[in-house]
Structures are given as C-alpha cells and as structure tokens.
Amino acid sequence: MSLNHQKIQEELLDIYYGEKHMTEEIRIHLDTCSECATYWKELDVLKNRMSAYDREVEIDERIIGRAFSKSNIIVERKKNLKDLLVFAIISSLLLALLGLLIYMGYGKSVIIVQIILMVCVPLLIPFMIRQRLMEEEY
C-alpha cells in the first residue's frame, strides 16, 4: 500500500467516525482507486451492521445498588473479624487483670460484684427494651 493510499484510508476512517467531512479530493480518489473504494465500502457495511446493535441499554439502578450492598457486606464481615481479634486481645488483658486481683486476694470482692451484677442487671431489661423501642421507632 502506498503512502498516499494509507493517508486516504486514515482520512476515510476519520470520516467514518464523523471527525472529518468528505472532501472533493477524496471523492475523486475513491472514483479512481479500487483499493480505497473497497475500503470505504467495507466501512459502510460495518456501519450498517453496527447500527443494528446501536440501541439504548437500560441501566437498572437497583441491580447496581444490590451489588454495592453485597460488596459492603463482605467488607464489613472482614472488618468485624479484625475487630473481634482486637476485642479478644483487649478482653484477655482485662480478664488477666481480674485474675491478678484474684491472685492478690480480692477474690471475695470479685464474687460480691458478680452476685450484685447477677441480681441487678436483669432489672435493667425493661428500661433497655423501652429505649430500643424508642430508637427503632416501633
């Protein structure tokens, strides 16, 4: 392919994409050159074929929303696992401190606090439920 043909075909491609207009010089060339004329015809056939697929693609925002919410769930699970590890470490330290208190002879106080909590915490249930009912707009 000569340089002239290559240049003309590049021009034809630009015309095909609507970036340039058909000039008189190119039109004359197409009448005289069979190679470039065939190329132009191929582009024309391609254009007709592509127009059959050229239609509006319906975008369903709900599907996208669901995909995002699924990915959020996966990310949140990973975060929860990391948080659980951190919590286990912190609570082990706290309970080690409790163990130290017991070792130092404060076992009696620990048992008393446990008994007080065992009796008093269930008394908070109605207040906690009321608070949640208000929060969750039931």
Partner: protein, 93 residues
C-alpha cells in the same frame, strides 16, 4: 465467705475463660446484627450468665431495623419489602 479462699484455682480459670468466651460471642453476634458491638462485648465480660440472658432478651425482643437499599429509611428486619418505596429487602444481612 471465708470459704472463698478454698476455691481452687481451676474454678477461677474456668470463670475467666467463660467470661472471655461469652464476651467474644456477644461481640460477634452484635456485630452481625448491627448492634453496638463494643458496648455489648464489654457488657458480656462483666458477668455470667445473666448478661448473656439480658443481651439475648433485649436484642431478640426488639431487633434492630435495617436501612433500605433504595431509600435509606429504617425497615424492620422481618419485612420483605420496604414500606416506603417498595424495594425488596436483602435477606442476607
């Protein structure tokens, strides 16, 4: 109460391990249900088993509402569709 000194060491260890297990389970369950996991987890470390019972009663009687995927409003967990916009709710959560 003077008998407390006679409590064998392994019983203390069992108590501490149970508290740790209870706290971790409550933390994990609270995080799955969208509750305040840190608060509930620390609450679970305080006492066994009354805190676990309290947690189960409070979170199961009044379950936390989900947020609708479409409109963002609060929707109860047992609802299949949002009462505000009609969007189907994700049951995986």
């Amino acid at each position: 109460m003077n008998d407390l000194k006679d409590i064998p060491l392994y019983l203390w260890v069992v108590l501490i391990v149970l508290l740790l297990a209870q706290g971790c389970w409550i933390f994990w369950d609270a995080s799955k249900r969208g509750e305040n996991k840190w608060l509930w987890g620390l609450f679970g470390l305080l006492n066994i088993p009354s805190n676990l019972i309290v947690y189960l009663i409070v979170t199961r009687v009044v379950s936390k509402a989900n947020l609708c995927n479409a409109c963002g409003k609060k929707v109860r967990k047992n609802y299949s569709y949002c009462p505000y916009c009609g969007e189907m709710q994700n049951r995986e959560t």
